[in-house]
Amino acid sequence: MSKLGNLGARLHRGEISYDFIGHRKLWYGISILITITAILGLAVRGLNMGIDFQGGAVFTTEKTSVSVSQAEDFAKEASGHDAVVQKLGNGTLRIQIAGMDTKQSDQIKTDLAKDFKVDPESIAADLVGPSWGDQIANKAWQGLAIFMVLVVIYLAIAFEWRMAIAALVALIHDITITVGIYALVGFEVTPGTVIGLLTILGYSLYDTVVVFDSLKEQTKDITKQNRWTYSDIANRSINGTLVRSINTTVVALLPVAGLLFIGGGFLGAGTLNDISLSLFVGLAAGAYSSIFIATPLVADLKEREPAMKALRKRVLAKRSQATAEEELAEVRGDFSDEGEPEDSAHAVVGPRTQPASRGRGRGRPSGKRR
């Protein structure tokens, strides 16, 4: 891990960096491709909606010796509908019967109990009316819409509208990808999935907000210098917070992985599994989008501003003019930058443009540097 710490240090100093902004077209392309695939998957395959969305019943028995195929027969006999039976990790059976209303299911439960030769009270039942899922879904969409509006307003106030829009695009991107994966893989969609999906909202933005925070801080006095364009500094922000982003994602994914492992392995199915699966997919997408989509998008939008355009012009002019005396300029630049307290250091230290000066700077005895 100290390697990562070391990486963090080098990223911090800008010794190594990845040009996220420069390669943004590539990542936009990849994202658009994934999004199209997701939408196609959604359109062609559709989502595998669980019992909660179509109405029906899920019965969970106690540990039993009845086999899956036997249970299927019993259930079909009792309900007149096809049943899906799963054997769970702890020896219990999970019987799903779609397309009946909550009133019928009492009778079915009693019949099943008779077939299984157990007490009806020992069978857990989850009975769902046909419109319950719609209500959950509608509420979820409503929540999503309200949240998006609020968060855009908040980000527009706390940061600026460009960042708000970029964050929103990243958010929609994450949700589309997650939904697309559900459609393509055919995971069952349950209220638990919806919970997970809605949680991604908070998480995806959480990550994005941290990068934006650093970006805002570093670009505060951007127009007062003419060494770096907005894109340069945005790139620096991403690289600077990269270690944190990785750490955050890992730390967020670890408990979710625990949930997924236990939910999938121990209980076989159910709320734990559903929530953690969609969280897992969404978190991964969220980490990706805050780095590769949101920030480059902000940079793109920002570069359209007249002030930033002017800055870019100045910077480019200065760079071309300074090519000849670069060495000298570098030294001076280093000099004034690196001694400064963090803000200005962040703002001015060039990440990828001046590798030569870095090497030299480090080689020198420290005393001489100032």
Partner: protein, 583 residues
Amino acid sequence: MAAPKRGRSASAQSKPGRALALILIAIVALTGGMFLSGHTTPRLGIDLAGGTSITLEAKADQGSAINKANMDTAVDIMNRRVNGLGVSEAEVQTQGDRNIIVNIPKGTNSKEARDQVGTTAKLYFRPVLAQEATGAAAATPSPSASGSSTASPSPSASKSGTGEKATSSSSPSATATSQGRAVSDALKADSTPSASASASSSASPSAPASNAPSAAQAKLQAQYAALDCSKKAQRTAAGEGAKPGEPTLGCGESSGVWYKYLLGPAAVDGTEVKKAQAVFDTQTAAGWQVTMTFTGKGAKKFADITGQLAKNTQPQNEFGIVLDGEVVSSPYVSSSITGGSAQISGSFTQDEAQNLANMLSYGALPLSFQEQSVTTVTAALGGDQLHAGLLAGAIGLLLVVIYLVAYYRGLSLVAMASLLVSGILTYVLMALLGPAIGFALNLPAVCGAIVAIGITADSFIVYFERIRDEIREGRSLRPAVERAWPRARRTILVSDFVSFLAAAVLFIVTVGKVQGFAFTLGLTTVLDVVVVFFFTKPLMTLLARRKFFASGSKWSGLDPKSLGAKPPLRRTRRPAPVETKEA
């Protein structure tokens, strides 16, 4: 800009002990409170403890609006009904704007409770057009039928009773009726032996058909003729989809015999009953009776309908009290009842009278409800799920701790201590919120808590990375800790706010399991801020004074060398402008 920041960080630095003491006192106080209150474990939800949870959705098909007042009334009514069954700790609460959740703990008769809350339809007073006993039972004289027929002559008695009653109504002219079913028993010459007493007044069931010979009427008439109320399926179908303004069919049971009714359009709405109660009439020895008071509008309507009904002969002088398509009672009327209050008398037992009174006052649910989901969880499954949730949490926590230790070394102690404090606070608050606001820990809530481990740990990561950045800049630990704080603080606040916003929106807008999840997520996000401000930061300040950390020991996680720090700063050429950038 620099000055106030300095001041703040200086004061924070100088009093780290105070903040730590504050949070420790808070923990001790809360924990003490928890033990004092006797609720040392969070209340478990139905899916973890076992029991039955019913979700009902209000339907807006009856013309009354789904609003908060109506929903609250409905919850109140259901609460009384469920708890009236002797179900202890059953809870009824609204969720979202149109759902009601009824949670019934294990060990109680959930089926009966479900039936009770399930029959939550509206109550109407409809004039009876025709009635008849149905099924095989109809021929069998039941003992209580003859018993009730003795009550039939009571109208005069209760009429005088009405006059003497100290009700607030100004002119309680008459309500005197016998219990509907008793009367109907008496009417059926062929069904009950006692009926002979009033058999002369028996009207032919087909009488209403001549009054309104429309096609719809004829159809209804045919349905009425075919209706057999002794069959359950027919019974449920009979009153289904009945509109208040149209005639309909209904079934009613008395002493094990089912009667079928042809009912006119609703004359009075159940919501227009202001109050109804069972009283024991000692004055006239009429026994248990039910008094009811109408609202102003209801009183007028009731006076109109009773005035009309009184002119008819039996059974057309009866009105059926129809609850969810079932005729729960059909008293007859002998004269117009004005003044807004009335009695129903007959040979009620105390239970019968109270039931009827309950139905009259509480049966008048302002909305109709549809069962949306019914979850029955056995205690074994609940235990399994709780077990799995806790195990998942433990594994998740362990993984996070391993990662933190590997990455942050000594600093991870701070993180772990902070996680511990956060965990204790979460647990204690959950335990306390159970009795306080009815919070119940369900499976999604456990999930929320586990997911929150990540959010909480992330705040430390933000702060630690900041400190490390400062050290890389060449600062020694103490100033690094202080300088890193304002930045980290802002980042933590902004990101936690977004997270909290998501939780709050979810909590307000969504229904069902999502709410439990959102609540825990919101709670832990708030606690995260509290812990970082009052625990992690002061602890860091204190630890920065320790040699182990301050000297940058290899195991402290703050070793300048392994962090790749620059050599110490010399501030000779550092001019002021830099400082202004701090904020």
